[in-house]
């Protein structure tokens, strides 16, 4: 597991860095992290299975409606393989997962991989838009705030980020809808225009949901970055060195403090991906976006255990992989790790 070499870009410097990183202890660390991730992932599937199957209620009943006879229910259960003991079903499902077969939806009969293939791109586009837009606002604001701690911009940014962290995303989303779709009807309140129907329409349909996800994110990032920058400007010796050279304050902030904060920011973005998934469930529901979150909610309400399990596993994998990629990027970008610690 630890020797898998992801092919990252053809850029010579990157691959050179990677080659060095491969020999460095940090890669072994990543290998260990990956090995540790597998039991966690397995635990996640087990937990999902327990929650979905041990609890009362049945998918067949749900599918047939409340007035189905017990006979009908039993027949459908047999058809759907639901009459077998839970552990047998789990074992079969697990075997399927290992061979890449995620099974068919109980509700629609479609292969789960097909469903995910249709739904995932929407969510990925949404989340990427949200992250990129929020970072684009975070960096200048945090820099201005950190330039003069306790100055006007700083205080405003603190108020803003406290607000953003206290506002539930569904609350913020609905306020956006009221303002931009009800009072000033300038943007679509619901619906999704696929990319194939034109970039402009696609982006228009994503603006409000992306802001709804991105604003709390922006607040979170800003709070972190501002804090990290201020701490560095106050406490780090290399900042004093830079000042002692006669370098101007903006340059110290950007070339020295921000450069070092970048790694922390990257980690925060990676680690926070898990929380974003919860946000997509709600936001996709509000804006009627056909993404993975909406599918998940539908599947949960249908007791479509196969789909829920697959999506939960997918999301858990995304979280684990995001953390790993964060580590790997760190290894490629941060000279401290890139070249290993050579103590002479």
């Amino acid at each position: 597991m630890s020797t898998s070499t992801p092919a990252l870009g053809a850029d010579r410097r990157v691959s050179h860095g990677l080659a060095r990183a491969l020999r460095s202890p940090s890669l072994r660390l990543i290998g260990r992290r990956l090995a540790a991730a597998i039991p966690v992932l397995w635990g996640v599937t087990l937990l999902t299975f327990l929650v979905l199957n041990i609890m009362p209620g049945s998918a067949a009943q749900q599918l047939l409606g409340a007035d189905a006879t017990p006979e009908q229910v039993r027949q459908l259960e047999a058809e759907l393989n639901l009459d077998q003991p839970a552990w047998v079903r789990y074992w079969e499902w697990l075997q399927g997962v290992v061979t890449g077969d995620l099974g068919n939806s109980i509700a629609s009969g479609q292969p789960v991989t097909t469903i995910i293939g249709q739904r995932l791109p929407v969510s990925v586009e949404l989340v990427l838009c949200a992250i990129i837009v929020s970072l684009a606002f975070t960096v200048p604001l945090a820099l201005m705030a950190a330039r003069r701690p306790n100055g006007i911009v700083d205080r405003l940014s603190m108020v803003l980020s406290m607000t953003g962290l206290s506002i539930a995303n569904y609350v913020f989303a609905l306020v956006l809808v009221v303002v931009f779709a009800v009072i000033f009807p300038v943007l679509p309140a619901i619906g999704f225009v696929p990319l194939s129907d034109g970039l402009l329409g696609n982006l228009r349909s994503l603006i409000l949901p992306a802001i709804a996800i991105g604003f709390p994110l922006f607040c979170f990032y800003t709070r972190f970055l501002r804090g990290d920058l201020v701490e560095q400007m106050r406490g780090e010796d290399y900042v004093v060195t830079a000042k002692a050279k006669g370098v101007g304050p903006w340059r110290v902030l950007i070339r020295h403090a921000f450069r070092n904060s970048l790694f922390g920011l990257l980690t925060i973005v990676g680690l926070n991906l898990g929380t974003l998934i919860g946000a997509t469930v709600i936001i996709e529901q509000i804006f009627a976006l056909p993404g993975i979150g909406q599918e998940l909610l539908q599947a949960i309400n249908n007791r479509d255990a196969v789909v829920v399990q697959a999506i939960v596993l997918l999301l858990a994998v995304v979280v684990v992989v995001a953390n790993l990629i964060t580590d790997l990027l760190y290894a490629v970008l941060d000279p401290r790790i890139r070249y290993g610690q050579r103590s002479a």
Partner: protein
Amino acid sequence: MSTYGAPHSAAASVSGDGSRPSPSTTMPLLEVRDLWVRFRQGDRQVWAVNGLSYELFGGQTLAIIGESGSGKTVSSRALMGLLPETATVTGSARFDGEELLGLSDQEMRQHRGADLAMVFQDPTRSLNPTMRVGNQITEAIRTHLPLDRRAARERAIELLRLVRLPSPRQRFFEYPHQLSGGMRQRVMIAIALAADPKLLIADEATSSLDVTTQAQIMELLLDLQGQLGMALIMISHDLGLAASFADEVIVMYAGRAVERASTHQLFAHVRMPYTEALLEAIPRIERPSHSPLPVTPGRPPDLTTLPVGCPFEPRCSRARDTCRETSPPFEEQEPGHWWACWYPCDDGGSG
């Protein structure tokens, strides 16, 4: 007053012009008068430097000695305007006739790195870990000199050669983590020399290094001082260091100068009991150097209140009632020898 320490002959300057204005014998390069620094800390004040005065002539070496916490770092950073915003600095510090204290940050920046430069204690933390060392030097060069990238790089490599970093051309492209502690400190020195400063402040520049490296760096600093004809303030907690290198010594305690004299005079006649204690604590071979100095029993005073009497009194073996009641003035009590003590040591301090 300045009968000792004639300016070293300027042998070769990096920039090629060896003719810097020859140090005036009448006007000091740096004249610090009644420097006070206090910090706001929550509801309290920390009185870090309390009325420090000294002057330094071009090309000379001044050693500022004292236990950790005696205000050496704070007093020297105050000169460069490098203290945090919680600090209040009063007094006067004239550099080349120009007042430094009270300059705006913008004006101060013209001096930082160009006229006064500083080398810090911990080279590992003082270099930016994410920047190639070469770029950290060229940044200092291009801040003050009108050189293009290429010329700045050439100068940086020359500086690296000057500080005797092996294979400078290759090191230019490396990151601080690829260098040893001694090499990092050499890079720090190269950064400090980038714009030919007239005064170099070395704040415990060797304290975090091992003994062998320490000696090398010390030697390098003094060589460079001679070559470039700059003045040097050497800050250390090690009086032995001062004994071997400095022209003049100031001993600090609790944020004030307690004894000041030319090195020769000081070691011939120690007056202040604190200096005597420091002298007895000079590292001997059997003691690991830079273990915290067990100077004399007790700890430096709490700086959040100013003592009424002599600040050293609680730890002083010679203390009497006078010492508790009034603080002794710091005055030139013999020609060229200042001290602050009611009952100074008699002659016979170890030479």
